[in-house]
Structure formats: structure tokens, C-alpha cells
Amino acid sequence: MNELQKNRPLSPHLQVYKWQLSSLLSITHRLTSIINTAGITLICFWIISLYLGENCYKYFSMLTSSFIGKFILIGFTWSFSYHLLNGVRHLVWDMGYGYEIRTANLSGILVLVSSFLLTIGLWILA
């Protein structure tokens, strides 16, 4: 591999693209994937703490029942909701539909609005 090949630019250069709805939602999909990784990690610790016993679990309960804990949990719920719904959008694209700019923008707005509705719905049901 020569120097030129080594320094080939990589694909998504966030700084050089003009910001628009499609790119904003796309990068949000990736950001939420990283947040979801943190979220599922916490869920794993929660389950492990459950095994470790009631005393260990109590520390988790203290966290989750606090105001900040609730705030974080709602944030994670939104992140999962968004990634889930935008994932459906990706699956539809994979099947070859929804590429027209108007449709893609519309489905994007739909996903964004639905992600908040799903978050609110999940917490109201709880």
C-alpha cells in the first residue's frame, strides 16, 4: 500500500456535507445506535445486579427512581424508539421503496414524530 492509498479519504465526511433532513436523520440513526449500546449495557448490569441480590439491586432502584435516573431512562427510550422506527424505514429502502425525495423526507418526519409518540406511549402505559 503506498502513501496515497493509505490516506484515501473515508466515506461520510460530516463536515463537508450541506445539512439537510435526510443526512440529519441518518447520522441520528448512528448516534442512537451508540446510545442504545450504552442502554443495553445498563440493562445487562441491571439483570446482573438482580442476580447478585437485593442489596445490589437496591442501588439500581435508587438510581432509576431518582429524577435524573428517570430523565436518562426516558432519553434511552427515545433513542431505542427512534432507532427502531428509522430501522423500519431502512428495511423499506432495502426492499426498493421510498427513495423519492418527497417520500424520503415525509417518512423521515413521520419517523421523528412517531419516535416521540412511542416514547410517550411507552411511559404512559408503564
Binding site: L10, I40, I47, L50, Y57, T64, S65, G87, V88, D94
Partner: protein, 111 residues
């Protein structure tokens, strides 16, 4: 090589489709469950169906996460050595954490 990439692409979609209902189920319960007492949560995971679905969910989530993170590294890490290291770390993480969690679930269920 290309075959492997195709497999990963397919696997990412298949895990996504299965995870979709599983996560909606889990999230709808988790949000309430996390605020409940120890005994209630233990009883939840002791239930056969909840136990099996949780194990499937954990396995698939970490598989999906590993492939997805690999894609992100592919796009943003230029140096192939660093990329391998990053992929290795994610692989270890995506194996150890779900394994420890599934073992915990098994011990909770059969305790």
C-alpha cells in the same frame, strides 16, 4: 470476502426484523419493571416465556450491535490496524457482556 460482507448485510437485516417486535415487547415492560421491587422483577424473569424471549433478545441485540459497530469503524477508522483492534474490542464486549447476563438469567431462573 464479498460473501462474508453479504452474509453480514443479511444478518444485520434478519436480526433487525426479529428484534423489532422483541424490543417493543421488552421496552413496554422494562419501563414499568425497572421501577418495581426486587421480588416482582425476579418473578418476571423466572417466567418461562419471559426468560426465553430475554435470552433471544440479548443474543440478537449484541450480534446486531457488533455488525453495526463494525460498519461505523469501516467508515471512520482509516488505519486498518486500529480498525482490527476496535473490532476485536467490540467482539469481546459483545460476547462477554451478554454471556454474563444470560448466565445471570439462568441462575435467577433455576435458583
Amino acid at each position: 470476502m464479498s460473501n462474508n460482507v453479504v452474509k453480514k448485510w443479511m444478518l444485520q437485516r434478519i436480526t433487525a426484523v426479529i428484534l423489532l417486535p422483541l424490543l417493543i415487547w421488552f421496552l413496554s415492560i422494562f419501563v414499568g419493571l425497572v421501577q418495581k421491587d426486587y421480588q416482582v422483577v425476579i418473578a418476571f424473569f423466572k417466567n418461562d416465556i419471559n426468560f426465553v424471549l430475554s435470552v433471544i433478545l440479548l443474543t440478537l441485540v449484541f450480534l446486531h450491535m457488533k455488525i453495526g459497530m463494525g460498519e461505523i469503524f469501516e467508515d471512520y477508522i482509516q488505519n486498518s490496524k486500529y480498525k482490527s483492534v476496535a473490532n476485536f474490542i467490540i467482539s469481546v464486549f459483545a460476547t462477554v457482556l451478554p454471556l454474563a447476563t444470560v448466565v445471570s438469567l439462568i441462575l435467577i431462573k433455576f435458583n
